[in-house]
Amino acid sequence: MKNLPGKLLLLSVVSVIAVTAQAAQYETDKEAFENHFKGRFPDVVREEFANGVYAIDPIGRESWEAIEEFPPYELFVDDGKEMWDAPFANGKTYKDCFPDGPGIAHKYPHWDKEQGMVMTLPLALNQCRESQGEKPLKYKKGSINNILSYIAFESRGQVTDVVIPEDDPRALEAYENGKKFYYTKRGQLNFSCANCHVQNAGMKIRSDMLSTALGQTTHFPVYRSKWGTVGTLHRRFTGCNSQARAKPFKAQGEEYRNLEYFLTYMSNGLTLNGPGARK
């Protein structure tokens, strides 16, 4: 018992060292991640990665730029503005939940210490709706994409800035879980997300070029010609998992929220340019 204060001090020092070492790990992860793409695409300037696959696919880029002259997501942005302005049944609006809105996309995802979970924009929108007595919106398809399009449009030019707070080890754990998800092989095809979007980014899969993981989160929600509408990031996650023949997870479930946390952190510093248009 004599040495108890000494032991406690030692334990605290060891804990601090362990947390700091882990905290430094995500910075190292990001460095390795960025260096990989720098090595693969030495002629592409970093900021260009915000344009997704069109940073590395010159032919696709021509079509994309033509599409952007009359953007297919425009009507969704207009409908989203109407949603943002329209009062709920109780007379309040989204603005009451998000006083800094509508240009708030750069604030998500973030670690919500109070709820002990990664908070994404779609989840925050639905929590707002529920707190105002409204029904939550579906997370993959439908009108959630209108309001997300409007918010993304109003957030253009903001910079991705995901923070992993060091004062809550649960945040780091969420980041690590998202990272593990990204590098885990799954499904009948035995693919990880990284197999396509890190290892083989820039390669062709049938007629399409695989996009780089760097910059993948900057332009959501996205109008995909394949969908014929705008869809959420978690809808895209679902599609990717399905293509590898793995059973997809629930949109806005813990797995995909942590994945979004990791993946968006990897794009820190890139400018938001959503909503986007893709094939």
């Binding site: 390795a32 590098y183 009948q188 890190v198 290892q199 059973k247 997809p248 997870f249």
Partner: protein, 133 residues
């Protein structure tokens, strides 16, 4: 004995012999018919017992597949089509096609086992060598 009587006796004997042969042949022919009839009568019972055996085997195969699927899902290792295969197996069983149900259930069970093994092997995060730290 004159020739007429002898010929008449020979003809009668031949007729008797032919008739006898016919009776034996007819009896021989009749016997398999009776056996077949007995067999036919026994077949529905056998088939019904075989069907119920198939049905039980299909039910057991579906249960094994579902249990393997749940095991894989418990460690996030379920594949996309496993659950669908089990549903198809259940539909085939309902439609009375036990053989198809067993085939689908076994395929699903195999997928589930592979998914479980895959997820087990991926429990520990190993950073890929193409990323240079």
């Amino acid at each position: 004995m004159n020739m007429k009587k002898l010929t008449a006796m020979l003809c009668l004997g031949a007729i008797v012999a032919i008739a006898g042969q016919s009776v034996i042949a007819a009896e021989k022919k009749a016997a398999p018919k009776a056996e077949t009839a007995n067999k036919v009568a026994a077949e529905p019972a056998a088939k019904s017992s075989e069907n119920s055996g198939d049905k039980a085997a299909a039910e057991s195969a579906i249960a094994a597949a579902e249990s393997a699927r749940k095991k894989a899902a418990s460690i996030d290792g379920e594949w996309r089509d496993t659950g669908k295969m089990i549903k198809k197996a259940q539909a085939a069983l309902k439609a009375g096609d036990s053989a198809k149900a067993i085939k689908l259930a076994k395929k699903a069970e195999n997928q589930a086992k592979l998914g479980y093994e895959q997820a087990q092997a991926q429990q520990e995060l190993k950073m890929p060598s193409y990323l240079k730290y």
